[in-house]
Symmetry: C2
Subunit: 322 residues, 2 copies
């Protein structure tokens, strides 16, 4: 893959996605000791950056394949984004959803018109259900992150951010499966070779950090984090890019994630999901060097289930002072 794939994706998806705003806050700058530029993908179509990759994948399909539809397994934002992209192109979409997925995200998938196929929880069950499904209907599988078209789409976040903010020293993104991080890293390295590319990751799902330490891709069987968008282990294509393009992965604790999320809600007045707070949590943790830097911070999405929020908010008590 090349940065040019991302630039082509940017042209392809432009009519269908938002050029999301960049927000700043003097108060957060003072807390972080750096100049922060928040790229607000919570305002993206569907409430998360996932629309970029999904639209790029769906729009890249040849007519004949497109007519048979697309399919994926997802308990989260990718399923909704793929449903939306398929509906926009007028083709069918199937989304395999584990029985224990949140009703909130499942409703979003259904609202965008996808057919939901329920399966038992666990990655292997999800993959088996998806395989059985596509064997029957002939739909094209669009993986949530381990897919070149998806990676190229997610990378358009960095294209826009680098157009919107000059002189960035660092790009800071969350990492789950690695679609967003690998796509953005491609762009950052191409356009600004001297820019640092750093990822924040929950300590309870630190496969990317472990992979960087050991030099080979680690997959975790058990993860535990409130950041529901970052529970996946990084994909093979993503690791190939991340291992060569990313400078550093910083781990953060659960209480730091919740505190950073609350802080963004309170100061920026925007609703972000826990996964999106991970980069700011990394900045405020003191475990990464960013003092005085101009940092582009990717706010990945804003899909929070407000019904489960009360319990979430009550777990506060981070290591850093608010």
């Amino acid at each position: 893959m090349f940065a040019s794939d991302v630039y082509a994706a940017a042209e392809r998806i432009r009519p269908f996605v938002h050029r999301t705003p960049v927000m700043t806050s003097q108060r957060l700058d003072e807390m972080a000791g750096a100049r922060l530029f928040f790229k607000c993908e919570n305002f993206q179509v569907g409430g998360a950056f996932k629309a970029r990759g999904a639209f790029n994948a769906v729009l890249s399909l040849q007519e004949e394949a497109a007519a048979r539809g697309v399919a994926t397994h997802s308990s989260g934002n990718h399923g909704a984004a793929l449903a939306l992209a398929a509906r926009t192109r007028g083709i069918p979409a199937w989304v395999v959803v584990p029985r224990d997925a949140s009703g909130f995200k499942r409703r979003a998938i259904e609202r965008y018109g996808a057919r939901v196929v329920e399966c038992e929880p666990g990655l292997s069950n999800r993959e088996q259900s998806l395989a059985a499904l596509v064997a029957e209907c002939g739909a094209t599988v669009v993986h949530p992150y381990d897919d070149d078209r998806v990676i190229a789409g997610q990378g358009t976040v960095a294209c826009e951010l680098l157009d919107q903010v000059s002189g960035l020293d660092m790009l800071l993104s969350p990492v789950g499966g690695g679609g967003l991080l690998s796509g953005c890293a491609l762009v950052a390295r191409d356009r600004r070779p001297d820019m640092r590319v750093v990822a924040g990751e929950p300590a309870g799902a630190d496969d990317c950090w472990q992979s960087m330490q050991s030099g080979r891709r680690v997959r975790l069987e058990q993860v535990d984090t409130v950041a529901d968008g970052l529970r996946a282990s990084i994909g093979a294509r993503n690791w190939a890019l991340i291992s060569t393009l990313v400078d550093e992965v910083v781990r953060v604790e659960e209480a730091e994630i919740v505190a950073a999320m609350r802080l963004v809600w309170e100061v920026l007045k925007i609703v972000i999901e826990p996964s999106s707070a991970v980069p700011l949590a990394a900045l405020l943790s003191g475990r990464m060097a960013a003092r005085g830097a101009r940092v582009g911070v990717v706010v990945s999405g804003g899909n929070v289930d407000l019904d489960t929020l009360p319990g979430l908010l009550s777990t506060a008590g981070a290591g850093f002072r608010l």
Copy 2:
């Protein structure tokens, strides 16, 4: 007062306040059966429209009076806004805060450098403490809403909104003390005489609605609403303008306010305070005629105490379907 006072205020405060964005949502439009344009004062300096009136009042002062400082009583956003405006001009500010005010809003007042003077709860105690204070220090009192300079400042919300969105049929604002509503009504009537000006008000603090019904200003001793920014009764100057310029006041129930607030958080991905949800609650209640109209909706602020949020969110159950 004239609309020209508002236009002068707009020039005066321009360097110090944000031109806040206008947001739209297809999903909310469909729910309301109207085209909604949300003027997002939650992104204003200090997190609420109150900065506009406070800056206009502070910047209007002659040098000698300014040097003696400003003072007010406030349990909410006005106190913080006045503190910020005073700090910006480099003059002292005193804010009388009732002992039972939320620590959250009190901390905002202190953060902006005002001297907090505690008093017993209740309007008369607040007024007495303020009178004693200014007798001593000679500061100029800036009332939260019953003040021409404040009304002119708040009206600049409508100036911007009418510049940002063409062809509005209706302006819809919350009403508490009436500063925002009366200032905006002045502008709407001047620039678009045929535009409807409507206010949403909590049924539990419906002094403005009662005043419109009886044709004379009603003040309430007891109010009960989650919309903490709308508990005040309308001021004399505000009523003089509202009674002649405003078409309609629509009352909403508590559960409708909470549900509308949640809806904005979930769909627009912005943090708004309960008071700011009152206009949308009115639109969705079915108790006002707006079908097919282009409606400018003033989102007044985003200062929510997240510590008290869990209890707040759990009171859901509105009359309209989400």
